[in-house]
């Protein structure tokens, strides 16, 4: 039982740098609730004083949020000024519950949607880009469940600003220029097997439809 309690305490300390800091500061109450041997108590008190524990906690957090960066890279670029606070809150509220980290991206989506609905995220282009990346994610999830690997999934996403200007810049992880002219645009997303293609169907008057670079899942 003691080893189980020790492992649980270590996981809790890894997931909560705040808790680790309290123990580092000498608050042994942090580990009093676990049924630990004296050696295990000494070990935990020692570990939180090692610089490597900070690295351990940082990598754990990075692993937990890896899916968010992979699935919503452009949204993250736009959220950059508040991203750290948003992820801090998320990390405190949503503890990883499985090794595949299936819940973290969903929790991120819910949190962003809530904040947008409450008007807390008035960031230029955010709603369009978030909707675009969410559509891509939904398509990818749908494709993952297909038994016919040659099938094709198609979706349409509307933009108020030129998708070409937005997506090309954001795909390089750069913020797009502020104040792009508004219009009515529609992009056609096609997923064939594991390859994404984005076609801009309607563009500003006078410009010709374009094909954005193909991405691979």
């Amino acid at each position: 039982m003691s080893l189980s309690a020790f492992q649980r305490a270590l996981v809790e300390l890894t997931l909560s740098p705040r808790l680790a800091r309290r123990l580092y500061g000498g608050d042994l109450g942090v580990i009093d609730t676990y049924n630990l041997s004296e050696r295990e108590r000494r070990r935990l008190s020692d570990i939180v004083r090692q610089a490597g524990m900070s690295v351990n906690c940082t990598i754990a957090r990075g692993n937990g949020f890896e899916a968010i960066g992979d699935l919503f890279p452009m949204t993250c670029v736009l959220l950059e000024p508040i991203l750290r606070d948003l992820l801090d809150d998320l990390w405190e509220d949503v503890r990883p519950s499985n090794y595949q980290f299936t819940g973290e991206a969903d929790a991120f989506v819910t949190r962003v949607q809530q904040k947008m609905a409450q008007g807390e995220l008035s960031i230029e282009y955010l709603d369009e880009i978030f909707a675009y990346e969410l559509t891509c994610l939904n398509m990818a999830q749908e494709m993952r469940n297909q038994t016919n690997t040659a099938c094709e999934i198609e979706r349409f996403v509307e933009f108020r600003h030129s998708p070409q200007s937005l997506l090309l810049e954001l795909s390089k992880l750069n913020s797009p220029p502020s104040g792009l002219p508004q219009g009515s645009y529609c992009a056609r997303l096609i997923l064939r097997g594991m390859k994404f293609e984005v076609q801009m169907l309607s563009a500003q008057p006078g410009s010709s439809p374009c094909l954005l670079p193909v991405a691979e899942l």
């Binding site: 996981v11 692993n63 090794y99 690997t149």
Partner: protein, 285 residues
């Protein structure tokens, strides 16, 4: 990424895959717990028809004191049989705690090398090796903190575990290199103490500095220190069957296709020069 792997199969001798990418694990106690992802499974099947495949699991958490997930193990074994895997490997670490509602550490945490942990693992590894139709390997873990008052060294722990269970070692040289840099010990001394006849597979990888530490990020090319360790180890690992270059997907852009194949090429040169085996492979995490 998939098209890259499929395109370079002829250049490889085998492929090390993380089977957990081919299913969604809906949690213990759920009916039809492992939901297969057809597209990923199709890719694995296709690869396995062209090359030998070895499975590198990430979800067993074999060192979790209160969890020994036999349901997961059976699923892993079923996949190994289906893909005719030459061996299965797992990490000498734990990520999962709690029964019912689990908590995941989001990082492979080391265990203290104590006799209590050794006894726990001996039982589990024996159970696994008895029902597995192929070899079972445990990988030396990377760790960023050290437990004080450990009863055994890592080398002693692994040697005893192998002797008592018949399991073998996946020697991750980048993990060893990372630990030696971060905790200031001599890799060669470690390798002299480890029973290298138990090493069936070697991992090599790149890493990055962070917060004054070297991390096992699997990004970038293999470092000189790791190549030197490979040259030292290959002729001494008498039962070695393969060397695998591990890289993270995010490293794909950094290294490029040629850069990735260059790592395999360098590994193959060392293996050809120093060993009778000829196996080099890729694993994308």
């Amino acid at each position: 990424m998939h098209s890259f792997i499929q395109g370079v199969l002829s250049y490889l001798d085998y492929v090390a895959v993380i089977p957990d990418r081919a299913w969604i694990d809906r949690g213990t106690g759920v009916s039809e717990r492992f939901r297969v992802l057809p597209l990923s499974a199709a890719v694995l099947n296709e690869i396995s028809q062209r090359l030998p495949v070895v499975l590198h699991g990430i979800g067993l958490s074999i060192c979790s004191a209160e969890i020994f997930d036999q349901e997961y193990a059976h699923n892993l074994i079923a996949w190994a049989n289906r893909l005719h895997s030459s061996w299965i490997s797992e990490h000498l670490s734990f990520t999962r705690v709690g029964t019912g509602h689990e908590l995941n550490a989001a990082i492979a945490l080391p265990v203290p090398y104590d006799r209590e942990v050794l006894e726990l693992l001996v039982q589990r590894v024996r159970w696994l090796t008895e029902i597995l139709e192929c070899d079972f390997l445990l990988e030396n873990n990377v760790y960023y903190f050290r437990y004080p008052e450990q009863e055994l060294s890592e080398e002693e722990f692994l040697n005893q575990l192998c002797n008592r269970t018949g399991c073998n070692i996946l020697l991750d040289l980048h993990n060893l290199y990372t630990n030696s840099l971060n905790h200031n010990f001599d890799c060669r001394e470690y390798l002299k103490q480890l029973d290298l006849s138990r090493v069936l597979e070697i991992h090599i990888a790149g890493g990055t500095p962070m917060m004054g530490f070297h991390t096992d990020s699997h990004t970038g090319p293999v470092l000189d220190g790791v190549w030197q360790l490979l040259e030292y180890t290959v002729p001494r690992a008498t039962r070695l069957r393969g060397v695998t270059f591990e890289f993270h997907e995010s490293s794909f852009r950094l290294l490029g296709e040629e850069g990735i194949l260059e790592q395999v090429h360098c590994a193959r040169n060392i293996v050809n020069k120093l060993s009778t085996i000829r196996n080099c492979a890729l694993s994308c995490l």
